[in-house]
Subunit: 473 residues, 2 copies
């Protein structure tokens, strides 16, 4: 018989053997089966995860085919640059350093034209600057004798790398030359140190610069020729889209509250959250857009920074909509009579505000001052005025006694607490309309600045035009 | 005499010459002087800008000496890696490819340990994976004959580069392996293409991997040994700091409003804006913190994601504080009597809320559940209850007639419009207290999860401890 020590957990099947002792029957669900089941579970779980991942990737590609196009562009640029390797004359021309061209393509190719140009220009300028400096340092080092050479080179690398790294923390440098500073350190270190070993220092510097120029030109060509995505255009559309979302959420929230309808699309109501979270992408797009040449309706030096101001104004509206939403979902429900009393004017404010934002979106889209804008703002302000008056007359409906809640039905008066949610909502609405006026101001600034820049560009282009005409004569 | 055509703008000094005609006196302020003045202006303007820039840089360094230390660390790491070049045996060992070690140091050295580890691990893994794949592709290509070799290599580069680029758009890949995907494309392209030219393909792959390992190990050593900055610790301190700021702004705003004091520090009042704008940095820090080994009180697999939840809760409070601020600065000023009526309870809510946030900050700082927390939340809730009651009793002070504004002084009653700002403020305060309760919940979750992880780690470490004890016996 099994001793106490051998007692296992769970049930065992035993069989009595001829000699009277019993033996454990190992069931088919033994260790092997357990391992098999667990492995099967693991595999199917993994398969599930992989399937989910692939589905996610597929959906992403289907939702934004431009991402797929970008990937094809990267593949294309890399395949073209490999031609440099495959064609012997070109390969020999850059002394086997064609690798640098490939590296350049891989690291500078970004989804938007602005980002690619930023990296290309930074890379070329920083490489040239660092190359010249490194050759200079190498010359000084070679004058100081064999013994001191490593020290001079080492010290110069230490000092320049530290300074360049520090400059990357300074906001103005960071926004324009962050990548350049890194490439500066890289090229300087490599060329200065190679100077100690490689005898043909000038050749190295020259090859590195020429391969980088090959790589960057190829990138610029591909990014601008094949379905280009412009940071500026993206920023512009994002701003327009966010305005539309803001307008839809504002109108949707207020309408849902006063009409008690749940038919509104929830995604539409939550649109303002996109506005809240798009600060970082706006900033990076505005940063890259500065590097782009004129494209579409946007000139070089289009007032991209103004978009950031508009973004900030939109966010300040969105904060209020967030507060509005919390009012709407609050536990203290307002009395129906009060809601009815204020609903007309509140709905008027929200609809006029949201059509003002819609008009602003239109105005940004077309980049001209809308003739209806002043009218719409006036309409919004008169709706606010009306809401003010309705609020004033609200006190008639109030029940001055807090304890006499049972009198409500008899007198039609409402206890003060049931007014609070609607009053809060109304005053937030009024605040939103004030913030929309600020938004109108910043959009008008954008349109004016852009028109001014257009005129300057037109003026600058005119003499060139006459020059060309003269040349033709 | 000067003819009409020659009339210049401005005043001219003329001298009558002996023959009766007059000559223009050319003043010393001629063209040369103009150029000189303009150049001087330009130079002094430039000098001013440079001085401003340097001052900004100096201030930045003085405010955060860790940035300076980081720069020195980069210089140090680069100088050490140059030793590889200067010492011939090491140089020969990696076949003149020591450049890769320098490049690795330049590109992977980031200010925080987490970011550096992320880049190092991504770089090493991606290089190994791409190296093996490229060697495999090269073998296949070499089997397909001289004519098809370039096509096979080109096609494989096109396909793999496109897929890897696409994967960088997928959020889960982007957050963990973005840099790795880039390095994968880079290494694969270089090794696959070099395979066509360089005969010693294995050597190339081996050298590249070994130099990268030299570079990354050096980076990891320097970043972790010399004054390390941990992403996790930074995220932790940022969260605590933001909580303090939130608490100060909330209390400051409400106190300023009710006591009409302007003595409050404006920077303190605007502290909530830091909370609004720190989403991006929180996310990147949490992302990098995942790569860090245990440091200080944080274990590997500390619940960093929970900090993001806390950040979101804090932001939802900050949105309300923003709305509160607009109430306080609104044009409709509230009647003093109403302000007085509500000031005690409003101040109580704000001070109890802000001390609850302060306690939360303390609790996050010490990473344990505060014993006072429940008491403070109760206090806050009872203050809210009191505010509710005060609001209810407000209707006694109301003047039901909107037109009888001249009766105010006689009866002490207030027109409805002058109540609105205070009522709005009070209801936003109540909303803030509700959001603080959500914040309390997410902080408690963090503390619990962290304690649980601590226990798991302690358990995992225990058997090891006994093993060691056994070994000693």
């Amino acid at each position: 018989m099994a001793s106490g020590k051998e007692l296992c957990e769970g049930v065992e099947w035993r069989i009595r053997v001829v000699d009277g002792s019993s033996e454990v029957l190992v069931p088919p669900t033994g260790l092997a089966r357990k391992v098999w089941l667990r492995t099967k579970g693991l595999i199917s779980g993994l398969g599930m995860k992989v399937r989910m991942f692939l589905k996610q990737a597929w959906d992403m590609g289907a939702n934004d085919p431009r991402k797929v196009i970008h990937c094809i562009k990267v593949g294309l640029a890399l395949t073209i640059v490999s031609l440099v390797y495959f064609m012997r004359p070109l390969y020999d021309g850059v002394g086997g350093n064609a690798m640098w061209a490939i590296m350049t393509v891989v690291v500078v190719f970004e989804p938007t034209v602005g980002a690619t140009l930023y990296k290309c220009l930074n890379r070329v300028c920083a490489t040239c600057l660092a190359g010249f400096l490194a050759v200079g340092v190498h010359w000084i080092a070679s004058q100081s004798g064999d013994r001191f050479e490593p020290f001079v080179v080492g010290a110069s690398i230490f000092i320049l790398a530290s300074i360049a790294t520090f400059s990357r923390f300074i906001p103005s440098v960071k926004s324009m030359f962050d990548y350049g500073a890194m490439i500066f350190i890289l090229t300087f270190s490599i060329v200065a140190i190679s100077g100690y070993r490689v005898d043909k220092l000038f050749d190295l510097a020259h090859q590195r610069i020429s391969t980088i120029i090959i790589g960057t030109s190829l990138c610029i060509l591909v990014i601008m020729m094949v379905c280009p995505i412009w940071s500026g255009q993206e920023l512009h559309s994002l701003t327009v889209r966010n305005m539309d979302k803001l307008s839809d959420s504002l109108d949707g929230c207020v309408t849902q509250y006063f009409t008690n309808s749940n038919g509104e699309d929830d995604q539409k109501l939550q649109g303002y959250k996109c506005v809240l979270s798009s600060k970082a992408s706006e900033e990076s797009m505005a940063n890259f857009a500065r590097w782009e040449p004129s494209h579409g309706r946007f000139n070089f030096r289009h007032p991209w920074k103004q978009y950031l101001k508009i973004g900030a104004s939109m966010r300040s509206c969105a904060y209020c909509i967030e507060a509005l939403n919390s009012c709407i979902n609050s536990e203290n429900q307002a009395a129906e009579s009060i809601k009815k009393h204020l609903s007309t004017s509140c709905l008027k404010v929200s609809s006029s505000s949201s059509s003002a934002i819609k008009e602003l979106a239109e105005s940004v889209k077309k980049m001209n001052k809308s003739p209806n804008m002043d009218l719409l703002v006036e309409e919004m302000n008169s709706a606010v005025e009306e809401l003010h008056n309705d609020l004033k007359s609200l006190s008639h409906l109030l029940n001055p006694s807090t304890t006499a809640e049972n009198q409500i039905s008899a007198t039609g008066l409402v206890p003060f607490m049931e007014i609070i949610p609607v009053v809060t909502l109304a005053s937030i609405l009024i605040e939103i309309s004030a913030r929309i006026e600020a938004l109108v101001g910043s959009v008008e600034e954008l349109v004016e600045e852009s028109e001014m820049k257009d005129k300057i560009v037109a003026k600058e282009e005119k003499p060139e035009g006459t020059m060309k005409a003269l040349q033709r004569v």
